[in-house]
Every structure is written in structure tokens, then in C-alpha cells.
């Protein structure tokens, strides 16, 4: 057999051996020969203060908005939702805090959860609890990779802005002759034991939650997220704020120059959306601060890389031209 035929077989075997070895090494060391090209939400660093009570403040013009497509939640019961087709996400960061602003279209302002047929508007942000080292399922995470969720609730916002809506506000025409102990916590078990849904005085319209799979969603022990939501001209703007530095057990950790992942969800109360019936996104890359934008590479390094690439391209173009034109001349 000719040497080149034998060499071909050897070359093929050697090549696939090397491919498998390379893939094995990548697997063992948990490396990837691919990088993300997905859309990225960047929290731009700002110096001027970000108003905590005005989601329409001019400082948000410094943020880079990203339009995130949403779809109905179709993984677990109760399925449905999907009335919001997209949410525009913005993020800012300063030395102390990180801010997220969600904006989406909603024809109605739904702030009540007091009656059985009423559902509130809401919005949520989700992060991998470990900061993105393991990317969990965006549907409430998984057992080995939990998620942190910040949910802004329209009714909680109304409780803060207008005061707690009791039965009298919800059903103004209802009448009772006598309602004993109406202000005694003893007779309101939920209120008495601290059920967050039963509280009458709220500090923040945002609830911080943790989850590790379906059916595990739990209110976090420490509530550190503030926020405000405002409805204007058929659009919601909801602001979420949290301090950058928190304790190990106080929620997801962010750092200037770092990156993680973020997903979003929106509920439209007037369309009966609640619980799992919502519009959801997949995880999107989140970069925090200007330093993160170049993946840690300085501008000088980038200039060097681009210069090298340009030189390489020029050489390749010249070589390709010589090769193609040369072949053209050789061909009879």
C-alpha cells in the first residue's frame, strides 16, 4: 500500500485521537471552547445619585437598555401567561448599590389582590444564587443550583403608597353589625405569625425569595431589596435597588467588574396572570460596571489583538490572492 494511503489512515486516527483527548481535557477541567455571543445587559457605572423613588429619573438615560423577549411559562402547572411580549431592562451601579429598571407595556394598572377575582401586576428578576458559577434552570432553579428572585408586587406598592387595603376598601358596600377584635393580631393568624402576605405595614414593595426547583419558592430570611413601581401612559417602570455588599447568607453577591446571569418575569393581573402564569425570559448575561465590558482585557490589549488580527488578515489576503491568481494562471 502506498505510503500516503497508510499515512492517511494514521493521520485520521491521530486526528480523532487528538480531538477526543482535547475534548476529554476540556471536560475534566470544565473549560469550554466556545464563548457566549448572546445579548448582554450591562450595569453602567454612574457617579451621580440614582433617585430611589423615581423610575423615570433622567439618570436612567445613562443606562443601556436591552429589549428581552418574553414567552409564556409552559414548564410546570399552572402554565400560561405570555401577555407581555417583551421587557426592556436597564441596570446601573455605583460604589454602593446596584439598580435594575424594568419597563413593559401594560394597558391597565392592577394593584389589588384583595378580592378573589383580582390579580396584581408584578415583575421579577432572577439570579443564580452562586453568582453564575453554575447556571441553573431559569424555571425556579434546581436542587444543586439555587436562584435568588426579587419580586415587585403591585399590591404591596399600593399598600405603601395608599395604605393597606382592607375588606372595607375592597368591598365598600359590605356591612357587618359587629366585627369584634378587628385590630387584634391574635385573631389574624397570618398577620400574627409573620406571613409576608398578611402584613399591613410594608417597608418595600419587593420581596426577596430563594428557590431550588419547583415547589421550593420561599421568602428569604433577610429582605434587603428596595424598589418602586410607577404606571404611566400604559407602561410600567419598576425599579429594584440593593446594596452591592451583603453577607454570605444575605443573597446573591455582586461586584464591580464582575458578571453573572439574570432572567426576568412579568405578570399582567388584568389578564388573570398569577403564580406560574406569567411571561418569562431565559437567562441573559449581566455585566456589572464598565470594567467588565471587555472581559477584563485592557484597551491596549484589545488594540494589540486587533492590530495582530489586521496584520494576519492582510497577510492572508495577500497569500489568498497569490494562491488563487497563481492557480488561475497555472490552469490551462
Amino acid at each position: 500500500m502506498a505510503w500516503w494511503a497508510t499515512s492517511y489512515r494514521k493521520a485520521t486516527l491521530l486526528l480523532f485521537g487528538l480531538v477526543l483527548l482535547a475534548a476529554g481535557l476540556l471536560t475534566v477541567f470544565d473549560l469550554r471552547l466556545a464563548s457566549s455571543q448572546a445579548i448582554t445587559l450591562t450595569a453602567n457605572q454612574v457617579i451621580e445619585p440614582v433617585p430611589l423613588d423615581d423610575p423615570f429619573a433622567a439618570v436612567w438615560n445613562q443606562a443601556s437598555p436591552v429589549e428581552i423577549p418574553l414567552s409564556a411559562q409552559e414548564v410546570t402547572q399552572p402554565m400560561g401567561g405570555g401577555s407581555a411580549r417583551a421587557v426592556t431592562a436597564r441596570a446601573l451601579v455605583d460604589e454602593k448599590r446596584i439598580y435594575f429598571l424594568l419597563e413593559w407595556e401594560d394597558a391597565t394598572e392592577d394593584l389589588s389582590l384583595a378580592s378573589q377575582e383580582a390579580f396584581r401586576d408584578a415583575a421579577a428578576i432572577e439570579f443564580p444564587s452562586d453568582g453564575g458559577q453554575t447556571l441553573p434552570s431559569f424555571c425556579m432553579g434546581q436542587t444543586n443550583a439555587h436562584v435568588d428572585i426579587w419580586q415587585w408586587k403591585g399590591d404591596w406598592q399600593a399598600d405603601i403608597d395608599r395604605g393597606f387595603a382592607s375588606v372595607a376598601e375592597t368591598y365598600p358596600n359590605a356591612h357587618v353589625d359587629l366585627y369584634p377584635f378587628r385590630d387584634d393580631k391574635t385573631f389574624y393568624p397570618g398577620w400574627a405569625v409573620g406571613n409576608p402576605f398578611s402584613q399591613r405595614e410594608r417597608v418595600s414593595p419587593v420581596e426577596s425569595l430563594v428557590a431550588g426547583g419547583f415547589g421550593t419558592l420561599t421568602s428569604a430570611d433577610v429582605q434587603r431589596v428596595a424598589g418602586v413601581g410607577r404606571w404611566q401612559d400604559g407602561r410600567w417602570r419598576v425599579l429594584f435597588v440593593r446594596e452591592l455588599a451583603v453577607g454570605d447568607d444575605d443573597g446573591v453577591r455582586f461586584s464591580l467588574g464582575g458578571s453573572t446571569n439574570v432572567a426576568f418575569a412579568v405578570w399582567d393581573g388584568s389578564r388573570g396572570e398569577r403564580d406560574g402564569q406569567k411571561s418569562v425570559s431565559q437567562f441573559t448575561d449581566l455585566r456589572i460596571g464598565r470594567e467588565a465590558e471587555s472581559g477584563g482585557i485592557s484597551t491596549g490589549t484589545w488594540i494589540l489583538i486587533i492590530a495582530l488580527l489586521s496584520g494576519l488578515l492582510a497577510a492572508l489576503v495577500a497569500a489568498s490572492g497569490w494562491f488563487i491568481l497563481g492557480r488561475g494562471r497555472r490552469s490551462p
Binding site: 502506498a2 500516503w4 494511503a5 492517511y8 493521520a11 485520521t12 486526528l15 480523532f16 480531538v19 482535547a22 475534548a23 476540556l26 471536560t27 469550554r32 471552547l33 466556545a34 464563548s35 457566549s36 455571543q37 445579548i39 448582554t40 450591562t42 438615560n61 445613562q62 443601556s64 437598555p65 436591552v66 429589549e67 423577549p69 414567552s71 409552559e74 414548564v75 402547572q77 402554565m79 417583551a86 426592556t88 434552570s137 424555571c139 434546581q142 436542587t143 426547583g213 419547583f214 467588565a292 465590558e293 471587555s294 472581559g295 482585557i297 489583538i305 486587533i306 488580527l309 494576519l312 488578515l313 492572508l316 489576503v317 489568498s320 490572492g321 494562491f323 488563487i324 488561475g328 490552469s331
Partner: protein, 380 residues
């Protein structure tokens, strides 16, 4: 008989033929220039009638499909299903296999592009010289970026550079194909729809990134509508692919083509069943695996997907259009939203094989002929 078989001399310098796999690879050509050392060396690379490209592409398709099924689908669905004991071990094993297949595919994807680029440089000139040079430069730039980005990390500048290179390359590959009157209209339309869909997806991603990089506030115009338009084009591509590489005879004479239709039908029925049975797990799977949101009526997706799979089955089953079958499978693995550099490479490899197959075949033929003549000389 294809043009290349009828007239090998012309095929070395002419535009691509209609039926790519009729010509790639080609056996039994006459050798005009005799056996040269250069051709012998090529033969080592190109192999005995089958280029090294063939096993690389076959392995890439196998690894890509494995990672699609085990990593992107099974691992993401299975994580929500309670498991213990043997089931848990089996699940862990399969997801590890999926992760390994992903790594194999990410290594093979640039290798495929290297092999294709090499063959393209050996092939006859396709279209204007400037276009050929630009295409080769684009291929090499894409290779460079795909290998550098995982090492240095990504940022908006890098993502734009890579995305622009990828999108520009797809246009460069498709442009001569669209304008080539020798290529069947259906195939030109099919490739046009594929590339247009990718461009819609690229517009959404790159315009958002560019806005951020330039510090512009607001959202790029028509971002989401164009993303939705691209999804509609993906659906249309399924029908166009069947028109281009399939045959109505397969459906009319379905009894004679039962084997060809069986697997695509089973897959389509499974998808429909999962959609009807447990409330559209298929919808979220489509989003995870391909980036499709399924906003159009489901029957459209099912019909398009079924025809696409029938075409793949027909291409691979007959053995006549293996490369097209592989290219279509690679497109499927790449998906609509190209979220990884690896997925970009798959899309480019697929479009390259679909549009430049005949040109590559002529390069393959020279190596094949060389080794055959050498064997004949050895036998004498």
C-alpha cells in the same frame, strides 16, 4: 448526469453545480497533469476518494446531535424530574456524555472549517476573485475569533467583531449562490431564507450590543419585530428546504418511501404529543434548544419541521446527498439564535457546504485522482 461528471475540465473552473453531493466526493476522474508530489501530499490529506473532511463532518454531526439531545434537552428537562438510584445515575451519565459531546463538537467545528477552507483554496475560482479572497479572509478571521474569544473572554467589542464577521461571511457565501443562474431557484431561495433568518437574529443581538457600546440610549429600531420576522423565515426555510432538496414523489408514493418518512413522522408526532399532553413542554424546549419562541401557530412549525426532517432523511437515506443531509442537520443543531461562537461555526459550515460543495468537490477530485493514478502505477 451532472455537469461535473460530463465535463470534469469545466467543473474545475466553473461555478457550483445544482446537486452538490452528486459531485462531492467524486470517484474515477481522469488525471490531466499526471501525479505530482504536491498531489500526493494532497492525497494524504484528501484521502482515498473520501476527503478527511468526510469523517470530520460526520463526527461533527454526531457530536452536535448528541449534545443537542443530551445537554440542551435532556439535562434541562431532567433537572425538574425527581430522580433517585439508578435513574439518577443514568441521568448523570447521559448529561456527562452530553457535556463531552459538546466539547467534541466545539473542537470539531473549527477543524471542519479549517478543512473546508483548505479545500476552498484548492478549488476552482468561484465568482469574482475579490469575492473569493474576501470569503477566504472571512473564514480565517472567523476561525481566529472563535479560537481567541474563549481564551480572552468576551465583551461588546469582541462580540460585535465576531458577530459582524459571521454575518458578513454568511452573506459572502450566499451572494454568489443567489446570483448563480445555474443553481436551481428553489435552492437559491432556501439558502436565501436561511441566511436572511440568521441576519435577523444577528441584527437583534448586534444592534443591542452596538447601542450599548456607543452609549446610545433607547432600543434599536424594530429589534423584536425583526427577531420575530427571522423566526417566520426559519419556518419558511423548512418548506423551502423540502422544495429544494426534497421530492414530492416521496409523499405521493409514500408506501414506497415508508422508511424515509418513518423517523421524521415519529419525531413530529412526539413533538405534537408532548405539546398536547403536558402543556407545551415542547415550547420551552424549542426556546432552549433553538431560540424559537413558537409565536406562530404550532401546525406551521410542525409541518415545516416534518418536511425539513423528511428532506434530511431523503438526503441521507439515498446516499446521494450525504453532504447536504449533514449540512441541514448542522443547521438544526446551530439553531436560530446563535448564542455561542460554536453555533456560529456550525451555521457557517452548513451554509458553506450547501453553497460551495461543487467547488470543494473539484478540489477533492484532484486528490482522489492522484491517489488512484498512483495506485494504478503501483499495480503495473
Amino acid at each position: 448526469m451532472t455537469l461535473s461528471r460530463a465535463c470534469p475540465e469545466r467543473s474545475r473552473r466553473s461555478l457550483p453545480l445544482n446537486n452538490v453531493t452528486d459531485a462531492l466526493p467524486v470517484r474515477g476522474r481522469s488525471v490531466r497533469d499526471g501525479v505530482r508530489m504536491a498531489d500526493r501530499a494532497d492525497a494524504v490529506w484528501l484521502g482515498d476518494g473520501e476527503t478527511l473532511l468526510r469523517p470530520i463532518l460526520a463526527a461533527l454531526v454526531a457530536a452536535g446531535l448528541t449534545e443537542l439531545l443530551l445537554l440542551r434537552m435532556l439535562s434541562r428537562v431532567g433537572v425538574h424530574i425527581p430522580k433517585e438510584g439508578l435513574v439518577l445515575e443514568g441521568y448523570s451519565l447521559l448529561t456527562s456524555l452530553g457535556s463531552f459531546a459538546f466539547n467534541v463538537a466545539t473542537v470539531l467545528a473549527p477543524l471542519s472549517l479549517v478543512a473546508l477552507t483548505y479545500l476552498l483554496t484548492r478549488s476552482a475560482r468561484v465568482g469574482p476573485a475579490a469575492l473569493g479572497i474576501a470569503t477566504l479572509s472571512g473564514l480565517l478571521a472567523l476561525l481566529f475569533w472563535s479560537l481567541v474569544l474563549p481564551l480572552v473572554g468576551t465583551g461588546p467589542e469582541a462580540n460585535i467583531a465576531f458577530g459582524m464577521t459571521s454575518a458578513g461571511l454568511l452573506v459572502l457565501l450566499a451572494a454568489p449562490y443567489w446570483t448563480n443562474g445555474e443553481v436551481a431557484l428553489a435552492r437559491r431561495i432556501a439558502v436565501g431564507l436561511m441566511v436572511a433568518a440568521f441576519l435577523c437574529s444577528a441584527y437583534y443581538t448586534l444592534s443591542n450590543t452596538a447601542y450599548h457600546l456607543l452609549g446610545w440610549t433607547g432600543s434599536p429600531p424594530y429589534g423584536l419585530p425583526i427577531l420575530g420576522l427571522g423566526e417566520a423565515l426559519v419556518v419558511a426555510t423548512g418548506f423551502a428546504v423540502f422544495w429544494a432538496w426534497g421530492s414530492w414523489r416521496w409523499l405521493k408514493e409514500w408506501r414506497a418511501h415508508k422508511m424515509l418518512l418513518a423517523l421524521p413522522s415519529i419525531v413530529a408526532i412526539l413533538l405534537l404529543g408532548s405539546y398536547l399532553a403536558n402543556g407545551s413542554t415542547s415550547a420551552i424546549l424549542a426556546l432552549w434548544t433553538t431560540g424559537l419562541t413558537l409565536y406562530l401557530p404550532l401546525p406551521l412549525y410542525l409541518a415545516s419541521f416534518w418536511l425539513y426532517l423528511v428532506t434530511v432523511s431523503g438526503c441521507l437515506g439515498g446516499g446521494q446527498r450525504t453532504y447536504e443531509g449533514w449540512a441541514l442537520l448542522l443547521l438544526l443543531v446551530a439553531g436560530y439564535n446563535l448564542e455561542l461562537t460554536y453555533q456560529h461555526l456550525l451555521a457557517v459550515v452548513a451554509v458553506l457546504v450547501l453553497t460551495r460543495g461543487a467547488a470543494l468537490a473539484s478540489a477533492s477530485a484532484s486528490g482522489t485522482a492522484a491517489i488512484q493514478q498512483a495506485r494504478a502505477a503501483e499495480a503495473l
